[in-house]
Symmetry: C2
Subunit: 502 residues, 2 copies
């Protein structure tokens, strides 16, 4: 729940004070606290927030794990992990942060041990004079989500003297039915405003900026519709292969791993109507509305791919079926290309092209808004005047920022038109950016759900992709280091050029 | 007349081939060929064109002046003048250019000596095997325009075996009546397509780019109307005072010297409808239409100013009335601020603010398109979210280019919106630009009148300013080195901020 409610300008919704320098004191439990996610992401982000003075100095962090481990040893490992991720550590901040780190053993089955664990954290709260605000962060393998949440609920820990929040990482379900089941379980113990489903893409600055870019700039919002936009392309490409995740990936594939969550969130932010306020519910309502307007995906508008041998940065790499832990006849997709239509007043007839892949030519996440060509091209009578359409390219990685591509007259006595790019890069303008986890953890502590996935959105998204999961399109192969299968170009309408880049 | 007619894409108008590498051979007469304009602008520009291979090697340039001067001596002076202006002179190009330079004495009254002069140039044409294409460039004081043009016409030189064109510099008339008289005189001997009235502002790259920017970029043209634009500001400021031009300036003033021609041309390029083709007549038709829609200027929407003592770049300078050649009680305006309304579908209700001045804080020519604010400001509930309107700032000097000012989310965990500028500078993107005179001279040789002032536009512009010339607004004084009189701010509507810059 918002910590310091106040009315927005439009008055419809309670709003939190986002400029509060520091959050209320709380206790955060990280289930799976000695795991990879905790060490690489959660603890470094918490440390950065502490160093910025965003974390109340009374707040305590309790890592929970199966084995026995003295506090001191956990602290040592945790601070080592933090030092690997954070360059500018101050000795003072580090030592006061370490003092607030704890380790508690929590054996499985959780159902058996959670009540005792609850007593331990209550004791710690009392020692530290905390008001009972609690966050349970499930940094666990997906099959532990349900037992952990159920144990927390059954132990009476879903509510406390202060507020209690629960954080769930992806993958949130495997399909519509499993997502619904997990939601139902959570809702048995927690209200939706207590549940924070993380999609770390939403914590990226450029993603957050999408709404500011659209709604604080009439020059863009004026253009943001079917009259002016010809198509939208969203590409998320990695050069990495399946790496150590084969066990998970074999049963997931790119559609579940990337499209259903990250790319569909980006789609919603680009396509949504202007919300009535900048509050979490207003924004999340609009995002669900987008999904409800997406037309069913036919197999003709989808393509799956799987990488074969090839070269990444000049080095030979093996194909997916040769990767450790992958079945030699696996048909799991490592590439997806999709064409989506949104049947509403704003977007009817404008295709949204989504593309995601592993072992691609380059690591890149970008959104290309391709504007329509001028209705009349009065310069085309002149040589050298091949006028291109304007395009706004929003890059999420590796460099967060955007390019506006437009036409100018080339200097000189002849009439020649040339494309130029207006370039904006976040890091150039503002210096280093906060990591997505800093943003998201702070929002959890504040109780701001704007950047988190709501239950109905999640289910609607699974519903959208259900037909593809049930009868996947034929699998095409592509060499590692390429931009995916050749046939991906057939997903684009013939007059919509090519995938950008390709 | 166009040298190599061909149809445009739209087919309505004959069009010239602007990519022709070199112009037809011709003979150019510069009346006033030993004067300042000839030495500083015309000859260096012709040299640059020759060096680029734009000038046919058979073309001859004949400077005409009152005194006797051997060809060799004129060549020496001319090449010295060219060396002062052009850095990268090639020895070969210089010697072959110099060979085509000539000097012929032409005494006054022109009426008496023009026939003989005509025989001399015909003889030169014959010697050089020229086809009779001729340009008469009147680089003369304004009171010599009419006698010179009349003498040319009466001597039968308005037509030749090839084409004949006449070039007239500003000031073209002193008011509506004198402009009409000069037009009538010219039209007695020349057709309008033979007459090239120079406004050197129109030769600047950024000015030419205005139409490309609008008509090749739907992202801009979509915004280009009363629904999206709140106001337009056009500022041309100089730090120079009246310098050596007091005799002329005392009887002219800033309205005649700058507003009636340069600023009004810029206004027309910003405000005009999209022409049916990129041909000279289509564009010039639309420019005249703009002027016909400008509402009469009331004295409440105009302000005149005159500079007093002050500081320019830290150095003390005297006031206008103390300048050499200026009457000690002169009421000549050195500053004008105006608010114009255009009563058509595109612009009704959008003020166009024009400002021009001498001895101002900075040398600057710029156009600011101020867009309307977002209708709803959903970010304003957050501290640090003072959303600014978007603005497109087009700079003509000192650096040709433009800025697009827009809002982004400031990185960080709070919602804060910051203005950022997307920046485009011609010289950065393309290197050094051609000078306006190169562009204009080449167009004259090609017979392309797009960038020249048509008779009806000229008369309409004088008609527009006639009320202000007849009963000028009260004169306000301003210190040198300022942005003009304080009262200039009252020309802006109260909710339209301030002059940019100020």
């Amino acid at each position: 729940m918002p910590s310091t409610p106040r009315a927005t300008a439009t008055g419809h919704e309670k709003e939190i004070d986002m400029s509060a320098p520091c959050c209320e004191p709380m206790l955060m439990v990280i289930l799976g606290g000695t795991g990879d996610l905790s060490h690489r992401m959660i603890l470094p982000a918490l440390y950065r927030l502490a160093q910025q003075g965003r974390l109340d100095s009374k707040s305590q962090i309790v890592a929970a794990g199966r084995r026995a481990l003295p506090d001191e040893e956990f602290r040592k490992h945790a601070m080592q992990a933090i030092r690997r991720e954070v360059a500018d550590i101050s000795a003072d901040a580090a030592s006061s942060f370490a003092r607030n780190l704890h380790y508690r053993q929590l054996q499985e089955p959780y159902a058996e041990y959670m009540t005792g664990f609850g007593s331990q954290i209550a004791e710690l709260e009392q020692q530290c004079g905390l008001p009972g605000n609690r966050i349970f962060y499930l940094a666990l393998p997906q099959d532990a989500f349900a037992p952990a949440a159920q144990a927390i609920g059954e132990a009476g820990l879903a509510n406390s003297r202060g507020w209690t929040r629960i954080v769930v990482e992806k993958p949130f379900g495997h399909d519509l039915r499993s997502a619904q089941a997990l939601n139902a379980l959570l809702h048995r113990y927690f209200n939706e405003p207590q549940i924070f489903r993380i999609d770390h893409y939403l914590g990226k600055e450029t993603v957050q900026n999408l709404l500011v870019l659209r709604l604080a700039n009439p020059i863009f919002e004026t253009l943001w519709n079917r009259d002016r936009i010809e198509s939208v392309q969203i590409t998320v490409s990695e050069t990495l292969g399946v790496e150590s995740r084969a066990a998970f990936y074999e049963s997931a594939g790119a559609l579940r791993d990337m499209v259903q969550n990250h790319l569909t969130q980006l789609l919603c932010l680009i396509a949504m109507e202007a919300p009535g306020s900048f509050g979490a519910e207003a924004i999340r309502d609009e995002k669900v509305k987008v999904l409800r307007s997406v037309t069913p995906i036919s197999s003709a508008s989808a393509l799956f791919g799987q990488y074969q041998r090839g070269y990444i940065d000049g080095e030979p790499v093996v194909g997916y079926r040769e990767d450790a832990g992958v079945a030699p006849d696996s048909n799991t997709e490592t590439f997806v290309a999709l064409r989506l239509g949104i049947e509403n007043w704003r977007w009817q007839g404008v295709p949204f092209y989504l593309r995601v892949g592993k072992r691609m030519a380059r690591r890149l996440s970008q959104i290309v808004i391709q504007f329509r060509r001028p209705p009349v091209m009065i310069f085309e009578a002149f040589e050298g005047c091949d006028v291109h359409s304007n395009a706004l390219t929003i890059t999420l990685q590796p460099d967060e920022g955007f390019n506006l591509c437009f036409e100018v007259k080339e200097p000189g006595q002849d009439i020649a038109v040339r494309s130029q790019r207006l370039h904006f890069q976040y890091a150039e303008a503002f210096g280093p950016l906060p990591t997505a986890y800093e943003t998201l953890l702070l929002d959890i502590m504040k109780g701001d759900q704007t950047l988190f996935v709501r239950a109905d959105w999640l289910e609607q998204s699974w519903r959208l992709y259900a037909p593809l999961l049930e009868s996947p399109p034929q699998l095409k192969h592509y060499p590692s280091g390429s931009w995916g299968p050749e046939a991906a170009k057939d997903i684009l309408y013939p007059d919509h050029g090519h995938w950008l880049p390709s």
